[in-house]
């Protein structure tokens, strides 16, 4: 049984100047790369499959399987694209990782590129995190200088170029096909699938798109092996995971624990609820994952556990709200976010979020009626599963789950036509 906290990705973060290549190499960095380059690429793919590593960007797709989808010997260039467009409300794990330990990502990128036979990789970082972009660029320069990037890496004959690509403010670019369009210099609107990125991704060539935390795990798996990785977490969701606690907790922050850790356990380590005010609702993995309440404190937070309890693991972004916060208000704020970030491509998401925001704003302003709740739910039903990509699905999560657990609060707004409960009173 693993410890309550299992720092793997976060273990170097406490080192002084943790972001430099000197620190990285001093603490065991770039030892996986020479090992990997001596192995056959297919062995790396198999090892990744064996480890059970699942994508840390929210969907939890088995990483090794994704790599295995890349057609080999097809004569086309292959690409690795790192999704570092961290923007899901509540999510704040990849940015600190890249700021504190960029080389773990770079080393993972090199190994993964070798495995999928890619000679060009891009790290697409949201534009608003300049310090992170700075550190990544420096890390890439250092890696080139040391011969970990460029031509004939460590004499292996393998070539790789890496570019750090700054986004420009669009949540939708976290959707992998929108990210690819954006990386190609277009509007970040999702692409039709099929064809999938594995066969027709960046520049219509086979492409793997993986999350930062996923790829940063790769050097550790190469060094530790798949069995070691599986010593943490649960059978179908193995490994360590960075849980990001935010909001009304005493000690918010990043906690790297085995998959399947519960909020109760995490709260315990985080000093409990702030000022002792009781928990009201929380998101297990960002605002697109349906809300949980105090009932769900013991839900094992891994892909299966969260799903069985009616939500999703998402990005393990635990936004914790206490009893002072109005659910309709919080739902309205999130809906404003989705409306702002809807790319506009498809009707349900574009028009639906436009409508939902207005209903919620009117309700929160005290001008709602009980029938508005029915309209909200029906419009959500017309968006969920009808929109082009998952943004629309995510947009309705706060509303449907908010009404599911806190319908009385919505009704109260209508009954009294008052603003008493509206707004945050923190």
């Amino acid at each position: 049984m693993a410890n309550p906290l299992t720092p793997v990705l976060t273990t170097r973060w406490t080192e002084p100047k943790s972001w430099t290549i000197e620190t990285y190499e001093r603490t065991g960095g770039y030892t996986a790369l020479p090992k990997a380059l001596k192995a056959h690429p297919d062995q790396l793919i198999q090892q990744c499959k064996d480890s059970g590593l699942r994508g840390r960007g929210g969907a939890g797709f088995p990483t090794g399987m994704k790599w295995g989808f890349i057609p080999q010997g097809d004569g086309k260039p292959h690409y690795l694209v790192i999704n570092a467009d961290e923007g899901e409300p509540g999510t704040c794990k990849d940015i600190p990782l890249m700021m504190a330990d960029p080389h773990s990502l770079i080393e993972g990128v090199i190994i993964t590129s070798y495995a999928i036979r890619a000679n060009f990789a891009a790290i697409y970082v949201r534009g608003e995190v300049l310090h992170c972009i700075r550190r990544l660029n420096a890390a890439v320069r250092e890696a080139y200088a040391k011969g970990y990037l460029g031509k004939d890496i460590l004499g292996s004959g393998f070539d790789l170029d890496v570019v750090i690509h700054a986004g420009a403010g669009a949540y939708i670019c976290g959707e992998e096909t929108a990210l690819l369009d954006s990386l190609e210099g277009r509007r970040g609107q999702p692409r039709l699938k099929p064809p999938f990125p594995a066969t027709s991704g960046l520049y219509a060539s086979p492409t793997v798109v993986n999350n930062v935390e996923t790829i940063a795990s790769v050097p550790f798996i190469v060094n530790g092996g798949s069995d070691w990785f599986r010593e943490m977490g649960r059978d179908r969701s193995p490994g360590p995971k960075i849980y990001s606690l935010s909001g009304h907790v005493t000690n918010p922050g990043q906690y790297e624990a085995p998959m399947g850790t519960t909020l109760r356990q995490l709260l315990d380590m985080a000093g409990g609820m702030k000022d002792g005010i009781p928990l009201k609702f929380w998101t297990p993995g960002g605002s697109s994952t349906p809300l949980f309440t105090a009932e769900h404190l013991d839900v094992p937070l891994d892909f299966e556990g969260a799903a069985e309890a009616g939500s999703m693991l998402g990005t393990t972004a635990l936004q914790i709200f206490n009893e002072t916060v109005s659910v309709p208000w919080a739902v309205m704020k999130w809906t404003e976010f989705y409306k702002h970030e809807s790319c506009g491509k498809c009707t349900p998401c574009r028009e639906g979020t436009y409508w939902l925001v207005q209903i919620l704003q009117r309700m929160v302003a005290g001008n709602g009626t009980a029938s508005d709740i029915d309209t909200l739910l029906d419009v959500c039903d017309n968006i969920l599963g009808r929109s082009f990509c998952a943004l629309g699905d995510g947009a309705v999560s706060p509303i449907t789950s908010g009404i599911k657990y806190f319908k009385d609060e919505f009704l109260a707004l209508c009954d009294t036509n008052s603003k008493v409960l509206a707004g945050a009173n923190a």
């Binding site: 669009a170 702002h340 009707t347 028009e351 017309n382 009808r386 082009f388």
Partner: protein
Amino acid sequence: MTIAPDKPTAEVAVPEGHVKLIIDGVEVIAPKGELLIRTAERLGTVIPRFCDHPLLEPAGACRQCLVEVEMGGRPMPKPQASCTMTVADGMVVKTQLTSPVADKAQQGVMELLLINHPLDCPICDKGGECPLQNQAIAHGRSDSRFHEHKRTFPKPINISTQVLLDRERCVLCQRCTRFSAQIAGDPFIELLERGAQQQIGTAQEKPFQSYFSGNTIQICPVGALTSAAYRFRARPFDLVSTPSVCEHCSSGCAERTDWRRGKVQRKLAGDDPQVNEEWICDKGRFAFRYATTADRIKRPLVRDEETGELRESSWTEALQVAAAGLAAARDANGVGVLTGGRLTVEDAYAYSKFARIALRTNDIDFRARPHSAEELEFLSGTTVFTDPDNGVTFQGIEKAPAALLVAFEPEEEAPIVFLRLRKAARKGTKVFHLGQFTTPAVEKTLGTLLACVPGAEANALNALPEHASDVVDLLGKPGAVILVGERAAEIPGAFTAVAKLAERTGAKVAWIPRRAGERGALAVGAVPNLLPGGRHVANASARTEVERTWGVEEGTIPATPGRDTTGILEAAANGELSGLVVGGVDPFDLPDPALAEKALAQAGFIVSLELRPSAVTAHAHVVLPIAPAVEKAGSYLNWEGRRREFGTTLEGTGALPDCRVLDTLAVEMDADLFTQTPAASAADLARLGEGASSGSSLNVAAPLQSPAGAGKAVLATWHRLIGNGSLQVDEPHLAGTARPVVAKVSETTAQQFGLESGGYVTVATERGAITLPVETDDLPEGVIWLPTNSGDVTVRATLGAGHGSIVSVSGGKS
């Protein structure tokens, strides 16, 4: 496609490349790769849609066409967009007809589309033919639950002089942007902004200048895009729609002409997969008011002996005067016939027959543009015998491994050929342009420019095996094509070189003239050396065959080839011809307008068949009004050799087709044409059938190029699609979308002549000078390009020059 019967009696065999699936309980066999929405449609089930268009790549954006799908016995968790999902074996599909989930999904999307849609149907041009309106009535809710604020935009925006955009009506289906990017290659309208503020727009000060912009109006599923020409003019349900064929270029596009109270209100693209698919160019769509100009000639005119002015007359008088004058001229030194390039087959045939039996001459030529004997040899030996079965076709271009374009500007001269080339190129056809610079068409056909000095094209073709063997190799692949344009007639040796290259590679050759009537005129013998059906006039048995079929005396048709256009004009100018019969010819399109002027001034007797006053009517002794295309029936032979028949759109206007006028005139001259109506003319022509090719002997050598000399450059020139053409009068909105009138030179040439990009250049000959802005581009050195007839730039009228002429070049305004 096969639709299985309702109760299959036996297991239906699935043909190779097909799959079997079930839609709404009915078993269907469909070709692999077919989109569900189309399969359902073939079954008679229309799934509502907005973004879907069969000729555009699937987008899946509007989400209106959601259906339920089951694969391998497992229902897919979400409804699927039937416009993006392809059929698969064993698939079970439930549309709105059988699935409450699909029905609700569709109703939900419809409601969302309508929340921000204005309720301005009563004043919207699309009202009555609006897919949104129709589908909202068929599939939408009867009331609205939306009580919030609708999105509004200041309305409308002129995205070009012709196209207006009402953003609040837009449902963001992206048909217009996808058309512009994918089909036309003109990404000048784009999605701007994001989310609920997303809208269609252009870059600032960069209007939607595309030759194909009108198609976006036609495929817009709402009233967001409208044309300045049609906006607020009519209601669709008050219009009569008549199928028609475009009279502008040689493609022969299928069109639909919508009219009301004797007046054409608009033209739309017809659907003809073999020719124009569902697209037409803006000239074909918007240029039709030439037929209703204030100065249209509606009554016959006879030149008054006393005043010397034309005066209105009766048909009887005009025909008598014309017949008497022509008979006298015929019996003096003879009469030449210039027909112009815009006639229908039926009308051109009447001219051809009129020349032979009423005027007893072979002095007839349809080529109201630069022409050559070499060209005539090529056309009469080869082109006249090609047809869609044995020659190049639109669909053949699409399948060609390679296309070599010689002296041909597809986007300017035959825009629908350009669209097909672009479509082909996007699927892998290699396109080579033998021309002078990287035109937009070169870029948009993903093409390769083979640049040469104007006039050196033949040399360049002859040198291909040596310098570009890859091109020759590609042309050797089955299906490869060579497309030759009208200015090849200005290039000595060009047709000879093309024929040689075709022989060497086996590539098929198509001649693609600019005007709608040229192929037809060639086929019916409106040329000096051919009788109808490609029969050579010098061939005695061919002559006899024609004379017998026509029921005229043997020997009526002169045995020697007649004069060509320039020959006729020269003869008229120096008295060797006594009269002229002139169809729709603009003398300023001729290689030497000064010669034409002189001929018109000198000719003893001129009969002009015309729509509007012109330089010809100014000299004519008799002017006989004729019907524009919209007021008559007939057919064009397009460049493929495909007959494009059309009926009369506006009946009973009293305007007569040329064939009828000539028939009556011939009667006055004791000759019977049997062309009283287009149908009679066509029937008379059909009795002749086809002649046999006597082959061609092309051996014009490519000339040696000599340097242009100090202060001189070689002129490259061709017509632009939108310019000063006589059929584009009275269309200010269309004119506003013309490309800027500029000269082009290379940077080195600019330096050599002291020209500044963005400054002015003066181009001169002994005849005159033209000053216009100059831009640099990738032309060969010592070459300057001018549009032939755009705005103030009238190369033939002002300079008396053409492609390959030597001109003087100097900087600044003269």
